[in-house]
């Protein structure tokens, strides 16, 4: 499925694009080499959102990141939504398309959150079948992102890393490794984030996400980190990025900041740090 002739994201920092930063980006993007958008925010028929993308796509490679396909849902994929994704990808011609290992739709109700899945052979089959359908409809490889987990399922009988490796083997999809999600899940579920990276199929990684999280605790007093995309990336996550890159080599790095979005200058500072993490490969 992977084709060296197809476009791919550059090995530079990118940011999740927010409309309020349009003028800043057009004037001086700093070290930012590419942009990522949430697919569902660009599914109108026209107007400013699509006009902005048209201008930006003349200057930057794009990643289209879906947040609503419900790849882990027990029902069929939403055919209308898949068509909308194809329309957007055919128009924007992004360097990458990615989605989440999660479900969000049940019996036509879209719950607007990335909901967790048990890791079993039945889930592998369902997720792999859905990814096959996405890749054949879009005519391109997709990347699958690891979730932030807050709880475990009694029925799970395999690790998340084995699950992802099995899905990659079955579908030929690539992976979007979110190192903040790894840190959040490892803290919440009590394992070492480094051991997760050691077991993770790094050969399939085509993009890495970095974002901030909130801190809470559960009713037993155990730490409960919550993925918020609303703050700076914390030092242990930067360290986990360095640990990962040392094993994987350089990758396209994305700063995700979706809530309480700061001034452009704050994002530039985050991308400079990502640029530094990549500089050891220059």
């Amino acid at each position: 499925m992977l084709d060296a002739t197809k476009p791919s994201l550059p090995y530079t920092p990118g940011v999740g694009y927010k409309a309020q930063h349009f003028n800043d980006i057009m004037q001086d993007a700093g070290p930012v080499g590419w942009l990522e958008v949430h697919a569902e925010n660009y599914m109108g028929m026209g107007g400013r959102p699509l006009a902005q993308l048209r201008h930006l796509s003349e200057k930057f490679p794009f990643s289209v990141h879906g947040v609503g396909l419900s790849i882990g849902g027990i029902g069929r994929l939403d055919a209308d939504h898949l068509t909308r994704l194809k329309t957007l990808c055919d128009w924007l011609k992004p360097a990458s398309f990615s989605e989440h290992l999660a479900w969000s739709t049940h019996e036509s109700a879209f719950l607007n959150d990335l909901l967790p899945l048990p890791y079993t052979s039945a889930t592998v089959k369902r997720v792999a079948d859905h990814i096959d359908e996405v890749q054949s409809t879009l005519g391109r490889q997709m990347l699958l992102e690891n979730p932030s987990s807050y709880l475990a399922f009694a029925e799970s009988d395999m690790s998340e890393t084995d699950f992802l490796a099995e899905v990659v083997a079955r579908t030929g999809c690539g992976l979007l490794l979110d190192v903040n999600n790894v840190f959040v899940s490892a803290t919440n579920l009590g394992y070492s984030p480094q051991s997760y990276i050691d077991a993770y199929p790094l050969d399939a990684v085509r993009e890495i996400h970095l974002g901030g999280h909130d801190e809470d605790e559960d009713e037993t007093g155990a730490p409960l980190l919550i993925d918020s995309h609303g703050a700076e990336v914390v030092d242990p996550v930067w360290a986990l990025l360095d640990y990962t890159l040392a094993k994987s080599g350089p990758k396209p790095l994305l700063i995700e900041w979706d809530t309480d979005v700061p001034e452009w200058a704050v994002l530039v500072e985050e991308t400079k740090r990502a640029d530094t993490a990549l500089s050891v490969f220059a």
């Binding site: 400013r48 109700a109 607007n112 959150d113 048990p118 475990a152």
Partner: protein
């Protein structure tokens, strides 16, 4: 123990129910507070989406009332599509039947206006007719002319001074004393909101419906002056074709 997505979903939307069977912390203990993270994400993100979508309804109702109402709405009408930009399509009808909202009788019309603003913002890009296009039509054929409207055009019927209520809550100013059917257009990228008279609205509704000009003008009654309405439609880039 299997946790079905059906059980998971039901517990997500019911704050009084326990976490579904089979979700646990790393020690195998049932994970109530951990499940609440998802429950909270769903309720808060949908409530926030409604607040963003209906800022003036929120202002008129008051934030405490609005968020409580949103909690009822999102459980009765969860999104049916991942395209959240249009979430809240059922809000006007919901408000019409929502007892506690009846003290603000124009709330549902305001919800209709704010929904139309979002549809206008995301409507397809089109090319408007030239301002002098109508002057090129032979006068004797004018009564048979029909107009094509930009997909960003919406007409909101109202028996309240809807436009000035919207304007007062977004820009400031006084509330008018007359009914204001409200026209939404999109001259460029930002929707425009204009007040119409009842007669202008009646003529425009017929034109949008595809009636020929001569027939539509009958809705305006004797002495109706088409000029101001036509001038507004042209200046707002609302017309995309004249069909003779």
């Amino acid at each position: 123990m299997i946790t079905t997505q059906s059980d998971f979903r039901a517990a997500l939307l019911d704050p009084s129910s326990p976490a579904p069977d089979g979700v646990q912390n790393p020690d195998g203990v049932p994970a109530t507070k951990r499940f609440d993270v998802y429950r909270n994400n769903v309720a808060v993100s949908l409530t926030d989406a409604l607040e963003t979508a209906f800022p003036v309804v929120n202002k008129l109702a008051g934030t405490d009332f609005f968020r409580a109402m949103a909690g009822v709405y999102l459980r009765a009408h969860p999104p049916t599509s991942p395209v959240m930009m249009f979430y809240g399509e059922d809000m006007p009808d919901f408000l019409a039947g929502f007892g506690p909202a009846q003290s603000v009788p124009y709330l549902q019309e305001m919800a209709r206006l704010e929904l139309a603003l979002r549809h206008s913002y995301h409507a397809a890009d089109v090319t408007p007719i030239e301002p002098d296009a109508l002057a090129k039509i032979a006068p004797d054929t004018l009564p048979n002319v029909t107009f094509g409207f930009a997909p960003s055009v919406h007409l909101i019927a109202s028996n309240f001074p809807l436009h000035s209520i919207w304007w007062a809550n977004t820009h400031g100013g006084d509330i008018a004393k007359v009914a204001q059917p409200t026209l939404i257009t999109r001259p460029d990228f930002d929707p425009a909101v204009d007040a119409l008279t009842r007669k202008q609205a009646a003529v425009l509704a017929a034109l949008i419906n595809g009636d020929p000009l001569g027939k539509a003008l009958q809705n305006g009654g004797a002495g109706f002056d088409l000029g101001p309405l036509l001038g507004l439609l042209l200046s707002r880039n609302a017309l995309i074709s004249i069909n003779t």
